[in-house]
Symmetry: D3
Subunit: 73 residues, 6 copies
Amino acid sequence: MPYVNIKVTKEGGPEGAGPSSEQKAELIKGVTELLEKVLHKNPATTFVVIDEVALEDWGIGGLSVPEFRKLKS
Amino acid sequence: MPYVNIKVTKEGGPEGAGPSSEQKAELIKGVTELLEKVLHKNPATTFVVIDEVALEDWGIGGLSVPEFRKLKS
Amino acid sequence: MPYVNIKVTKEGGPEGAGPSSEQKAELIKGVTELLEKVLHKNPATTFVVIDEVALEDWGIGGLSVPEFRKLKS
Amino acid sequence: MPYVNIKVTKEGGPEGAGPSSEQKAELIKGVTELLEKVLHKNPATTFVVIDEVALEDWGIGGLSVPEFRKLKS
Amino acid sequence: MPYVNIKVTKEGGPEGAGPSSEQKAELIKGVTELLEKVLHKNPATTFVVIDEVALEDWGIGGLSVPEFRKLKS
Amino acid sequence: MPYVNIKVTKEGGPEGAGPSSEQKAELIKGVTELLEKVLHKNPATTFVVIDEVALEDWGIGGLSVPEFRKLKS
């Protein structure tokens, strides 16, 4: 009965928003199948929770993502 | 000084939204009392954080909740 | 299909260890019943995960719990 | 390669909202530098994720924050 | 720059312990590739953290996993 | 009343173990002071929880940390 939490930045989906419903469904399907294949976990009791995080709420290299990308570009 | 995180799907409240303020207050009260009763934890330093998760962000059985319920019904 | 994570300090159980198996079972039962009563959540798809945290890994008031208690006593 | 999650109540920022972008950037910078100073962690692989939690979703003392503050004042 | 947390019960690996190092490596590889395929996320900044949870610390159906399985068998 | 969770790999401390008690106390003090300085959060209700993660349980670049470092060296 695994529990998986996936956090991604809110971007890259249609119209600059986060992942589309289809992309989320693919993530849920893919990670559930992975746990079934590798650890024989039952999909019926595999939970997946996806969190979309605003760019300014995510930090890397000591900078928020928008600042980080400005510096890198 | 316990920390409790409760994640529920955003539904079942008034007008199809997530839990009402009253329901959230009941959850906070109930889980804090439970920790006091079972483990003698001081309510003054018991934190509870409730997250409402959109239906398409929650997966079970390899499907998002909306797809899962369509199949089950 | 709620997911609940309960973090408590590793203490207060038998022989100075964390909560006993019986206490953990009471927490699991209590919080699952709470979610059923308040939000009509199905216990069959309610997950509870308990984490015991070593005292030196928990901070409050800018101090680890052992330092905090020394100051308070 | 540390991962830091900071949860704060959604308040105290400009116009009653949560922390401003500048305050978030300060938190990201500060905690990344702290991990570099204390544990020599590489900022390039230090992730920080900030969550703003609505006041009614945060409980302390068995009450939601708005109820808790009403009682205290 | 996704962050993925996978929680599984501590079982099913060699000698009744949790997943083997090889199984964990497969999970890390699989979920990182999934995020690259579905959302074009860069593996270099994809973090995966696996937690093994003791059976008595995991609850489902209002019971700890050991009690739950006793009832089901 | 912030809640901060810091996850670091279990290494870099005395005798190859994770951070020492002193280093953890520094992290707790530093992050609590940061939240007080930037957001005027009260240290008395600031919680910090530190998790040490085994190297094989942490993945980056699609590899567990031990494999990742072997490739890089």
